[in-house]
Amino acid sequence: MPTAQTLFDKLWAQHVVASDKDGDLIAIDRIMLHERTGGVALKSLNEAGYTVQSPARVFAIMDHVVSFKTDRGRDDSRAPGGDVFITQTRAMANGAGIRLIDTDDARQGIVHVVAPELGIALPGLSIVCPDSHTCSLGALGALAWGIGSSEAEHAMVTGTLRMKRPPQMRIRVSGALQSGVTAKDLVLHLIARYGAAGGQRSAIEFSGEVVEAMDIEARLTLCNLAVEFSAFTAIIAPDETLLAGLRGKPFAPGENDWAAATDKWSELKTDVDARFDHEIELDASNVRPTVSWGTSPEHSGPIDQPIPADGDPRALAYMGLAPGDRLTELYIQGAFIGSCTNGRLSDLRAAAAILRGSKVAPGVRAVCVPGSQAVRRAAEAEGIDEVFKAAGFEWGAPGCAMCFYAGGETFAPGARVISSTNRNFEGRQGPGVRTHLASPATVAASAIAGRIACAGQGNT
């Protein structure tokens, strides 16, 4: 009888080209680039005189420093000098013959939002991008991970990467998420409980009834934060929910290949007796709406609990907080909804449901930036943009926007900002800016209350 394999074992084995004592040469099926770290990979490839082995399987998408103004021009950046990243990446992508989704393309958006929308990311594929949140795409049953620019160059030239097999972890989530508690709350809870290094550089498989019950967008959010847990990547086994959504996407298998593809994908699951290096069992029923209070995603806790007595003093000093302070008593100056974590249609719907008929509190700058043009169009077709604007939110053009500061316009130093993003690092959203990570619903409720607040309990 063959040895029981994990989903990861199967994905890895499918891609092994060769092996030696130092590791495996792994075939790469899709390479994604963006202008911030992909342009430099194309540049060094050109300078070394190399060519891209399979240009049709490389996608360059503009997202990181593009302007989020709705009337932006083709080269407009939100960062000083950012136009050079856009124009040089465009020129090099065109020169290399790779697929380019430019700033003015109807498909443009954040690379990790666009890849599932277009069927660039599919079950069973190996996908790399010089961007740490590439792990999001594991939600589609793909082996997807973030790399450096040098590795992106290596992958483009050779169609492979030299890899050492990572350890494996399974996180089984049982119970049920309470009403108003989201995948974002769940994953912040996980990181708070086991620490920002808790993933131990493992390939993590998320499974269990709670994960199976999640829609694909929630699974993308869950896998997105795996890198903040120090995982190599995260994966979720493909199921009917996923397949139904993939059929007909532009880069998904066509009708002629569909049956063969789904047949192959049906093997992508962990065998009953397969072993993992680490196992975690989480009960989702205990998870409360969760908000970060410090400068690492591990500094997070239930919205209604005081900041712990042993909270990291350096983080608390940066955040202007002390042990025992209550999150729900903190006034905010900013609110941001968007990013590869929570910038999809379901995120915008959840926020709009709370904002409808309400106004953002005075003194709060509130911004919503859809994750892609497709998300923007779908939201506008439902009138969601009007809900945001009527509430006093700015409605932006797709891109990474205020998830990270790259120079240019931002919140004021010392401003307290509640954000649906992934990193609350010192200075992440601007020098001195104090970021609190939360779900889109919590961000919306807080924007209305003018202080950190729980959806459905605006005054608590």
Partner: protein, 188 residues
């Protein structure tokens, strides 16, 4: 730098990535901590690398999960350009750790208690021998693990792309066989 989770946004803030290239980054290394303000680039004397006994160091001793966060290789390029040749920590961010040996920096993992002991000896002399995988300080020696490929990158200055291209025939054979099995992924 013994605090945990020093992320790549601290090592090189995105605002310091000013050109599409690998150079000109040392000035932005730890910019948020190293300078008094974002506009006044006077060195902040409280920051460790600005202190005379630590200036010119080629080894960093750091807390857990050093280099977590963004994949930006600019963090490693900035450290290398500044003169850092090795970082000793209990653990590293995975992407950062992979980027280091490609750029002449040895990411050295020691047990947390050993890193704490080393940090307590500073300022002082620490030396690292890659072939024997040993860190030495005073009369103490610590052996560390380093994967074979990373070791070759660091010691032989191997060009990984040139090395992999020697396997071009194997790669082509893999792709031909895979295209039979999974034709849908070979888009044109």
């Amino acid at each position: 730098m013994m605090q945990d989770n020093i992320d790549t946004d601290q090592i090189i803030p995105s605002r310091e990535m000013k050109t599409v290239g690998r150079t000109g980054l040392a000035d932005g290394l730890f910019a948020g901590w190293r300078y008094k303000t974002t506009t006044d680039r006077t060195p902040d004397p409280a920051f460790v690398l600005n202190q005379r006994e630590y200036s010119g160091t080629s080894i960093l001793v750091a807390g857990e999960n050093f280099g977590c966060g963004s994949s930006r290789e600019h963090a490693v390029w900035a450290l290398a350009e500044y003169g850092i040749r090795a970082i000793i920590a209990p653990s590293f961010g995975a992407i950062f750790q992979g980027n280091c040996p490609r750029n002449g920096i040895a990411p050295i993992v020691l047990a947390g208690e050993d890193v704490t002991w080393l940090a307590a000896q500073l300022p002082g002399d620490v030396s690292i021998d890659l072939p024997t995988q040993t860190v030495s300080c005073a009369d103490h020696q610590f052996r560390f693990e380093l994967d074979g490929f990373a070791k070759r990158l660091l010691i032989e200055g191997l060009d990984p792309i040139a090395l992999t291209l020697k396997s071009a025939t194997q790669i082509a054979a893999y792709q031909a066989a895979d295209c039979e099995q999974r034709p849908w992924l070979y888009i044109d």
